[in-house]
């Protein structure tokens, strides 16, 4: 028997957030006595790095260092409402809410600084290093710790802000079906290269190469992490994961985590990716979103690559060795190989 190689391609257009919209998120910001800006959210970080990117967006809008921002997602019962961390919506929706809250908090911060420096708030700017200074004379400045202390104990004021974002729910025209389903779309294309062992039906993914257009990247390292992790997850769905594999009887189905087949480090293919940034018009600093989509396109790309390798169209995944061996019985390529041998 032989090892057959194939290449497959798949593309995805990924709409950020809930279909038709109507999925709000809120944010509250307040400064502590020592000038830490606490951003309260109910938006949970699942490991995708939401706390990091939200702190970046908050710091950028407030004009304070990243280290001065603390994200508090401690309790979804008591925090400001968030629809949830799904549909790649969090950076887009929550980021917009945080920008709105941060603008209000920044205004309050500059008003206190104006009193301390005896100028108009319009004459002030932030240096992003923890100071507020008078435009044109940067030596006249106040650091945010002194400012927060003054706000609390001298002026009796809060430095705080409220923010929310909602894409209003789009109605669907019952006559025409016309609607506004999404706020922004990210795009990607994945090319998979595979090798199929015609003896065992096993597939080795040799490489997954991709191009992603995700709007502005707030944090390129985290975007890359999503793409690599998602590629692996997609491969896992394409080839392995199911609670109902094709086996002679249901007794053979996995009954626990230990028997549920997922790939490990040995199955890691060569993963390569380039990211294009076309900022969205309604995302925070041009964000679109990248998360769920990274596990989407690798699946059809791999299935297409296997179909290309064996010459038989496969329409059901995961493409387990059992399914491939059955498909190989119909493969013209395998028939050709057998004829050549005999």
């Amino acid at each position: 028997m032989a090892k057959l190689r194939g290449t497959g391609i798949a593309a995805v257009n990924y709409p950020t957030g809930m279909n038709l919209g109507g999925d709000p998120s809120q944010a509250l910001i307040h400064a502590t006595t020592t000038g830490t800006f606490v951003i309260s959210l109910s938006s949970t970080d699942l490991g995708q790095g939401l706390k990091t990117v939200i702190a970046q967006i908050g710091a950028e809008t407030l004009g304070v260092p990243f280290e001065n921002v603390l994200i508090d997602t401690a309790d979804t019962d008591t925090g400001p409402h968030c629809m949830g961390t799904f549909a790649s919506r969090a950076t887009h929706r929550v980021g917009n809410a945080v920008i709105m809250a941060a603008k209000e908090a920044r205004k309050a911060m500059l008003e206190v600084a104006a009193e301390e420096l005896e100028v108009s708030p319009d004459d002030l700017d932030t240096d992003g290093k923890g100071n507020i200074f008078v435009k044109g004379s940067p030596e006249r400045k106040i650091d945010i710790t002194s400012l927060a202390l003054a706000a609390h104990f001298k002026y009796g004021r809060t430095i705080s802000g409220r923010g929310m974002y909602i894409k209003p729910k789009s109605p669907v025209d019952p006559e025409t079906g016309k609607m506004d389903p999404d706020s922004t779309e990210a795009h990607a294309c994945v090319v998979a290269e595979v090798e199929v062992d015609t003896e065992t039906g096993e597939v080795t993914v040799i490489s997954l190469k991709s191009a992603y257009e995700v709007g502005r990247q707030v944090n390129p390292a985290l975007v890359h992490g999503q793409i690599v992790g998602g590629a692996f997850m997609g491969m896992s769905h394409a080839l392995y994961e199911t609670t109902a594999p094709y086996y002679p009887s249901p007794d053979h189905a996995p009954g626990s985590f230990s028997e549920y087949i997922i790939p490990g480090p040995h199955e890691l293919p060569h993963i390569e990716s380039v990211v294009l940034e076309y900022p969205s018009v309604n995302g925070p600093y041009g964000v679109k979103g990248v998360g769920e989509m990274t596990a989407n396109a690798p699946i059809p790309a791999i299935v297409n690559a296997v179909s290309n390798a064996i010459g038989v169209r496969l329409t059901e995944y995961p493409i387990t060795p059992e399914k491939i061996l059955r498909a190989l019985e119909k493969s013209p390529k395998v028939k050709q190989l057998a004829e050549n041998r005999s």
Binding site: F232, S258, G264, I271
Partner: protein, 158 residues
Amino acid sequence: MPSRIVAFNLNGRDVEVMVKPLTTLQTVLREHLHLTATKSGCRQGGCGTCTVLVNGEPMLSCLLPVEDIAGQKVVTLEGITPIEGLHPIQQAFFDNYAIQCGYCSPGVIMVIKALLDRNPNPTRQEIMDAIAGNVCRCTGYEPILRAAEDAARRLQSA
């Protein structure tokens, strides 16, 4: 069956615990001693996140009755973490974005620790073989492999 006292060395200190027979080391660490860096995943030896070192060897604490390690040396993630800063392996994981949700990280880090202790300059294949029993659902393993290689370099130049 009555409870009995089991003594062992944990992270350099002698400890005694009163346990029912077959109580796992994982339960003792997390529920008796409140050392929660060692995670509880599948509780059937399938995911690797509960890995600790027993006499320097990586072991699945969810399958290990604590009586079996009486008198032996156990090291958990708490045991390699300095009071200030991070262990070089932890720092390498941090710097290489090898942690996303973080649930597999304690087990993976202990496996890498055991590997680098006996093989300071492993190949990528040897690292993959070492962590083959650790399930990671977020990273796709690639950053973990990079972090392990980086950790080896850091420890060798230290």
